[in-house]
């Protein structure tokens, strides 16, 4: 395949990665924005979403679409509830103290991951996508007859991947609406701005925190449910999404939602493109080192507020 089509293919892969990444990173960003908590176990909630999605789709018989729709609803809600429980039982009790929260969430990471290993096993299991038609994509070139379209062999995308991209945009839109137009969103933003003031105004901060933590985990689980027909459900699949989500949130600016979206697109696209053209490892090296440098030299990221 020539460079042009190859780049297009890589870009599509990047777009899919970005779509999932934006959901996952958004979950992490909301939790940090409102609760000032870094959830190291976030990747494991992602993995749980995938595993639950697998469980639901294999239980629901009939057309794969039925099981998939069920999974889309059940998996994120279930993971969100588990996360809310974790917040109640553990995080609240340590008062969201920064150091202890990091340690606790590291512990939760291992608990979730290893329990999954015990109950689900070490195998990677596939999930059938609800639809997966192959769409050949055109490429252009200037030939003897002027501007021509042709269909290079190997340049194609599946309808499911397109669906993932659209779905992510839709969820993002819904999330933005909730955050900016509803009372719940207002409460969340108020708690993020000034927790004590919100409490003085009668906002049940403890409950908001549980909801927010659940929402963050649920978003990651939703991303995982969308991606699991493309990848597979495996107990170790939480590591990469965690790392990428971290990178996105830091570069985009902790607590800035538009920043998260921009960074997710940037990072997802570059990860996809570098992975296709060079190697996945090199892509990760660059991303990892870059995010460290951003934190060192420009801690507010792209669009976050600079610390006083």
């Amino acid at each position: 395949m020539d460079f042009g089509p190859h780049l297009m293919l890589a870009s599509i892969e990047g777009a899919v990665i970005s779509a999932i990444l934006v959901l996952t990173a958004m979950g992490l960003s909301i939790v940090f924005g409102v609760m000032r908590v870094v959830n190291v176990a976030h990747g494991e909630f992602f993995m749980l979403g995938a595993v639950f999605a697998w469980a639901v789709t294999t239980t629901v018989s009939g057309h794969p679409a039925l099981g998939f729709v069920a999974a889309l609803v059940i998996a994120p809600v279930l993971v969100g509830c588990i996360a809310a429980g974790v917040d109640r039982v553990i995080l609240k009790r340590i008062g969201y103290d920064v150091d202890r929260t990091i340690v606790a969430t590291i512990g939760i990471l291992y608990i979730v991951q290893q329990s999954t290993l015990m109950l689900y096993g070490p195998e990677a299991r596939p999930v059938v996508p609800p639809f997966n038609a192959r769409l050949a994509l055109p490429w252009f070139e200037f030939g003897d007859n002027g501007f021509q379209m042709f269909w290079p062999w190997g340049l194609s995308v599946t309808t499911y991947k397109l669906f993932v991209i659209v779905a992510a945009i839709a969820v993002l839109g819904a999330l933005w609406l909730v955050l900016t137009r509803t009372k719940i969103g207002l409460i969340m933003r108020a708690t993020q701005q000034d927790r004590d003031m919100a409490q003085a105004f009668g906002v049940p901060v403890a409950r908001v925190y549980s909801w927010v933590f659940g929402l963050g985990a649920g978003l990651a689980a939703l991303g995982a449910t969308l991606v699991v027909p493309i990848q597979q459900a495996h107990y170790l699949m939480g590591g990469d999404p965690l790392l990428l989500a971290f990178i996105v949130v830091i570069i985009g600016g902790l607590g800035s939602l538009p920043g998260t979206v921009i960074a997710a697109v940037l990072i997802g696209m570059s990860d996809g493109i570098i992975s296709v053209f060079f190697s996945p490892t090199l892509a990760k090296i660059i991303a990892t080192f870059l995010v460290a440098m951003v934190l060192v030299f420009r801690p507010q990221g792209l669009m976050g507020r600079a610390a006083a």
């Binding site: 290893q114 990760k284 060192v296």
Partner: protein, 314 residues
Amino acid sequence: MMTSAKPNALHLGILVVLAALFFVLPAYHVGAFSRIMVLAIYAIGFNLLFGYTGLLSLGHAMFFAAGMYGFGLSTNLGGLPVVPAFAIGVIAAGLLAFAAGYLALRTVGVAFMIVTLMFAQTFYLVILYFGEYTRGDEGFIVQQAQRSLFGVDLTSETARYFTAFVLFAICFLVMARLVQSPFGKRLVAIRENEERARMLGYDVGRLKLMALVVSGLISGVAGAAYALLFGYVGASFAAVHYSIFPLLWVLLGGAGTTIGPLIGVIFMFYLIDVSSGFTNAYMLVAGLALVLLTLFAPQGLAGTLRKRALRWLP
């Protein structure tokens, strides 16, 4: 001001017990303790930065791995004998700690944790990327023939145990001395109230960097020792969970105590040893331990002992 009589007696007592254990324990446990002592060195290094200075690094595996690969590559690829190869491993770890620290210490709190984590991840990925030389995740063996010192084969159980013991004893005593010295006290001051320490005239930035370099050096000693005594070098020792282990050991044993690291390693080693007999999800135990510790006993075993009963515990 207390005299250092009690702490000295305690430290020497522990070393005597450790030496004596060799003659008392069955063969399996002798091997276990060789490993425990080497890992305890790593925990001691981490403890200086986390327990005494109050800086939580999530990237210490890179220092351990630098020592390990420094030694392993010098021996295997460079053909160097034990002592120079060991020195290279330790120096590599120290240099890495200086470079990483110079950058990372410009951040504080959560940012510092993430930066150290990211640096360590980068190091791990670089090891994988140059798999041609490092053999990546698979790792490589350091031949027995190369692991002898002055004609003594260091792979025998006895030599292994006592080499580990000597290295541990040196690091243990050096650290004990260090934390009771003015330098150590200043690190504690930084942990307790960094701004106050600064306004007492202490160069906080320089002190933190020094702590990180010493911490990295000692972690490198552990890594090089591990490669030397157990003959294996692999990328998994540079991965994230090898940065989490020392945190777990130190929290369990007691952060900011001299004996905490050793206690934590012993406990965790046997806890995982026993549970891996039941399930291959033995890290579940580690996860539970972390959550329970941070919920109910953030000072760990020795720390609680110090707070409740023995206030002189260093």
